[in-house]
Symmetry: C2
Subunit: 467 residues, 2 copies
């Protein structure tokens, strides 16, 4: 859940601009090698590409120059830069070894998944089968709420796996949590809400979505028992609260049972809506699974789930339960936004759920993530006994609290210098009014073969850290 | 482009509610036969399903009862209605003949495509190949503007096929025209615009999208040369105008060359944005292709294209050119809306474009649609020489003007009684302030084997019409 934009070719994470030229070169080599940029293709002028990517023209000039020198590109005066024709003779670009494109040498960013874990084969198989059997209506202007077949499978899955109290008619299929939150924010605003409470700390991008819909934000502090519900009880005119009760992001804390009861009582009493962001609830390693808030009172909770952590963020599929008061406004808002979520993706996901391939994939990944979690916790503890990670019993990242923004900045700089990508509580502005610092270390992004070295590299960095 | 919602199972077009029970039965039989509702599945309670579908509980009760009688379902007191277990003995549900589910016996609705025309094989093949070669970043939080590989292919296609003046950096990939228009409407509003001009007549749903973003609408009349640009010249404070210059919907008129020049001059002079909705520009049968307005002045035109008519509406893919003044606001708005369009669909479309499978599919469909157009125009002219269709030189529907709303209502009622679905200018509220009537007859929706009988059935209805 970094805020950096990622292109097909380039991840232009601001923190990583020092390596931009190398990564641009790698991306271009990869595109030429794979045939996406065939021989003879005119590359964009350096000025245009620089503007497109938001980087300096000098960086692009250097990258082009390097690739011309390597024979991937040819530059002719007056005709711009062109992809060199492939050749089967020795020394041709296609036979040169080239680095694989990875955003970081060691990718420990939170919110990202190892792309090679995406179940490509299963997805294509599910889509092919679903397309063969799909009723004609699946290709048309479909139900804005989502295809009934998908909602039926999702309802069954969510009851079983997440303890929801939900029927197909209570679900809205969306293009992911970003859209779910935007639809909620606009529907709540249209219904008169003006103030939405949000955990402090929280992911900055979500605050942007709520503000873009016109809301004022009210911070709710988080302690070891989760969000401090008593702060909601004393606040005025709160239309909704956005929470991560299963596993607070980024602290990893679970909302306590006592707070859950108080929270629901508060919502029932004030008419406020609880937005339950269950972004990675499928992954719990220790203790019992935590049921959803929605299952306790569907009328006041809008539960939001996503395929971003179970399949891949790029799939862009999410789901939202419909509290009665927002049912019609939310479906109408979805229709006005994009009519419906992509029909082919809906078909494929319904088929993955129907055949239990979705469950099997999650079980497989849960085992892998649990092993990674164990490796990371053990290795980091051994490297520097003064450091203690938190939030490791579930989810896809841990938090390593640090005493202040300066220590965090030093640690991030050292990590970046070692080629490690990861998140920072202060650097990524998780706190808006309060203060806090720490490293957010994801263990789902690195490819399987680089994960052990990534953890070792981080351990080296942290070994010399003196908090 | 009807406003009816379509579920996976049911098209609940309001005009067709008389046949709801039969269609619900057909949908359930189809779902059971295809295995989407396996034996033992508990069907939703009648009350819940009725509410879900927005129909009466009595209709659902009757449908369930019929299917129990037929052996598809079994109803047990206290345990609800359950899908009967399949059996291979004679008389089992799976061996009974059952009607195919079609929304109408003869589907001549505008805006819909024959779903069997969707290139399923090519799509799956493209996706499989693209997934095999996709860089890891394609599965992550990608570039909100759209994958560079897709924008590169789209730019090349749009320059070649639609005369656009566009580079990859000038394109935004969206989830279809609905989203493109919503993003534009919100970005223009944020930039201070409050009044948007729109053709009269126009599709009502687009007016809803603009109004939902806060805009006041200013109607611009349409005559035989297209939108009457002089009305824009005398209007005040117009932030943008939404037009269908290639083929006005629903009249089928093309905006004249003279009007195009005046329109661009007006936009340059006032700073207004022209939203060019090129919804079916790929399909022209007579005369030369009409170039885009965008190609004449990219700085004042936001060109919007879609795969809804070339592939299928359910795919939910569109694209938008970025006038300089709206470039950053539009990309930011897209990011806040759903971060990016579904990555797998982007990969597949890029691959279809790269291999020219997209062009081949369009050429094939253009031939088919031209034949259908010829059949329709000839048959209807022979049936009733007093009727004259217009807008037949391009696109996927024709307009049959009628002298008033009452004649239209009579014609629609007769068509519906004959099992024909089609659109009505008055019935579908294409005019907001003005008056006009006529049938909007689509020739892309009917399956190939029913199209000739659909046209014959319509000819029978129209033969007795005395306008």
């Amino acid at each position: 859940m970094s805020q950096s934009g990622t292109d097909l070719l380039l991840d232009l994470d601001a923190a990583d601009r020092g390596k931009l030229r190398l990564r641009l070169e790698g991306a271009l080599r990869e595109a030429i090698r794979s045939g996406r940029l065939p021989g003879g293709t005119h590359l964009p002028p350096t000025r245009a590409l620089a503007q497109d990517l938001g980087i300096s023209r000098g960086t692009v000039l250097q990258a082009y120059g390097q690739l011309v020198a390597e024979g991937w590109l040819s530059g002719k005066r007056g005709s711009g830069t062109v992809v060199a024709a492939p050749s089967n003779t020795g020394g041709s670009p296609v036979e040169q070894p080239e680095p694989l494109l990875v955003p970081w040498r060691f990718d420990l960013r939170p919110g990202f998944l190892d792309a090679s874990s995406f179940p490509r084969l299963e997805w294509v198989r599910a889509l092919r089968r679903a397309l063969g059997e799909a009723p004609d209506d699946a290709f048309g202007y479909g139900n804005s709420q989502g295809q009934l077949a998908l909602r039926t499978e999702l309802a069954s899955y969510l009851r079983r796996a997440r303890g929801l109290e939900v029927a197909p008619r209570d679900l809205l299929v969306t293009a992911g949590f970003t859209q779910s939150l935007g639809l909620l924010a606009r529907s709540l605003f249209a219904a008169g809400a003006r103030r939405i409470a949000i955990e402090e700390p929280s992911w900055r991008f979500h605050r942007s979505i709520l503000r873009a819909a016109g809301h004022e934000l009210v911070p709710v502090d988080v302690d070891d028992h989760g969000a401090q519900v008593d702060q909601l009880e004393t606040a005025r005119d709160i239309g909704a609260v956005l929470l991560t009760p299963n596993r607070q992001h980024p602290t990893g804390v679970t909302l306590s049972a006592d707070r859950r009861s108080r929270l629901l009582r508060w919502a029932r009493g004030t008419g406020a809506i609880i937005i339950e962001n269950d972004y990675d609830g499928e992954f719990r390693y220790d203790g019992h699974p935590i049921g959803s808030l929605q299952g306790l009172d569907p009328a006041v909770v809008a539960y939001a789930g996503t395929a971003s952590k179970t399949l891949a963020p790029g799939v862009r599929l999410g789901w939202l339960t419909l509290p009665d008061s927002l049912r019609k406004p939310l479906i109408d808002a979805k229709r006005l936004t994009d009519w419906q979520t992509g029909g082919l993706d809906q078909l494929a996901l319904a088929e993955l759920l129907r055949t239990n391939a979705y469950d099997r994939h999650i079980r497989k990944m849960r085992l892998r993530y649990r092993r990674r979690r164990d490796t990371m916790v053990t290795t980091l503890a051994a490297a520097n006994p003064r450091l203690r990670v938190s939030g490791a019993s579930a989810g896809l990242n841990v938090l390593l609290p640090l005493p202040g923004g300066e220590v965090e900045a030093d640690a991030l700089a050292a990590a970046h210098a070692a080629g490690i990508g990861l998140g920072g509580v202060a650097a990524d502005k998780y706190y808006e009014t309060g203060r806090g610092a720490g490293l957010i270390i994801g263990f789902a992004a690195a490819p399987e073969h680089t994960f052990p070295s990534a953890v070792d590299a981080l351990a080296d960095v942290l070994a010399s850290l003196d908090p």
